[in-house]
């Protein structure tokens, strides 16, 4: 049985993106060796990566490119080689969307398709970014663990990660801060 985890950056005011999906505020995150180690260690677990169409397009436009590989060779390798699932009703078939390996499309996100995905194997499925996918899965109570990376900024307006999501009890697994001002908060929703 696979577990589903979340890894997402949020602002202090609870947004995962600006009102028009802006993520330019990621620029405030300074390079930090300890943070990089942390993300590398987590990415070694051999997870399946899952994202929505917006995040998929962004990732695909970056990690396989020379700029992506140069920015973080280790992460680029993980991103490019890991099995990936993109949840999308609109994306054309993958034959028409080349340039990235090991991608499958999930057309419908519902209780049955996710249950099937969980039962197909073991290990972890990690949702990267993709706030709207997280919301849908959280409301179906499919998320086993959250890693929220709190970025030291407030935007004033944007897209709330937990909009229409209510988890009144969570267990704090770990809180860790980094010199670049990021705080990683890991929670497990209480069932």
């Amino acid at each position: 049985m696979r577990k589903i985890g979340v890894f997402i950056h949020v602002t202090l005011d609870g947004f995962f993106a600006g009102p028009n999906n802006e993520i330019d505020w990621f620029k405030v995150i300074k390079k930090d060796a300890e943070w990089e180690n942390h993300t590398h260690r987590e990415s070694q677990s051999g997870s399946i990566l899952l994202f929505g169409t917006t995040t998929y397009k962004m990732m695909k436009g970056f990690w396989p490119t020379p700029a992506g590989i140069q920015s973080d060779p280790h992460m680029a390798k993980v991103m490019n080689e890991s099995p990936k699932i993109v949840v999308s009703k609109t994306l054309k078939s993958l034959e028409e969307e080349p340039k990235w390996k090991n991608v499958t499309i999930l057309r419908d996100l519902n209780h049955d398709t996710i249950t099937k995905l969980k039962e197909e194997g073991s290990g972890t499925i990690t949702i990267l970014g993709s706030g709207s996918i997280i919301q849908q899965l959280a409301n179906m109570d499919f998320i086993d663990e959250y890693e929220l990376v709190v970025v030291p900024i407030i935007l004033g307006d944007g897209k709330y990660l937990f909009k229409n999501v209510k988890i009144t009890e969570m267990k704090l697994l770990e809180a860790r801060s980094f010199k670049n001002g990021l705080v990683s908060l890991r929670y497990q929703p209480a069932r």
């Binding site: 609870g14 407030i154 969570m170 990021l182």
Partner: protein, 190 residues
């Protein structure tokens, strides 16, 4: 110059209360380390500022606990009641509460006046609208956000009507056994 500290209990998604003021999602069985931490944070405070709307509830809540010496929050309640308070109001012209002055001028002017007086730290707890105004005006010097392990989906936010991005420096994060994590930030002022 005195410092203005903001101390709030906040959900993972940034709310200090539910849409109707619900606080049932908060952790109430604080561990000893957290109790000590909060009392150390409060110790150098000699002025509490409050929004008018919250003041009645604040004063009656802590006055009530002050009548129960066995309550785990008794010492804190005593501090809350005995510390001089300034209530910000546009509708009152005199204070209705003991040990409390009122401020009726422009927010920034009144806060700057308080900060320039002699004294120790100033603290603000709420309410949400008052906190938002202070944050928007860039008047908070230290943010102490006590993140409670719950996401409530909607509610009263302290980061509201803020039209431009504000950046912060993380001073430290402190996890507690009861599940609360305190995040301590200072604003980056340019």
């Amino acid at each position: 110059m005195r410092k203005l500290k903001l101390q709030v209990q906040i959900s993972v998604d940034g709310f200090i209360a539910g849409p109707n003021g619900e606080m049932d999602w908060m952790v109430w069985n604080w561990d000893d380390k957290l109790k000590k931490y909060v009392s150390e944070l409060t110790e150098p405070v000699d002025t509490i500022i409050l929004g008018r709307k919250m003041t009645d509830g604040f004063v009656s809540y802590w006055s009530d606990i002050m009548t129960k010496p066995d309550d785990p929050f008794y010492a804190f309640a005593k501090k809350m009641i005995e510390t001089p308070k300034v209530v910000f109001t546009k509708t009152l012209n005199k204070s209705q509460w003991a040990n409390t002055a009122i401020a009726t001028g422009y927010l920034t002017d009144e806060i700057m006046k308080l900060k320039s007086e002699n004294g120790k730290d100033i603290i603000v707890y709420g309410g949400a609208t008052f906190d938002s105004s202070l944050i928007k005006a860039g008047l908070i010097d230290e943010f102490h956000l006590f993140i409670n392990p719950a996401a409530i989906g909607s509610g009263m936010a302290i980061f509201k009507h803020i039209n431009e991005t504000q950046k912060f420096t993380l001073v430290k994060s402190t996890p507690f056994d009861c599940g609360i994590v305190e995040l301590h930030y200072e604003p980056k002022r340019t």
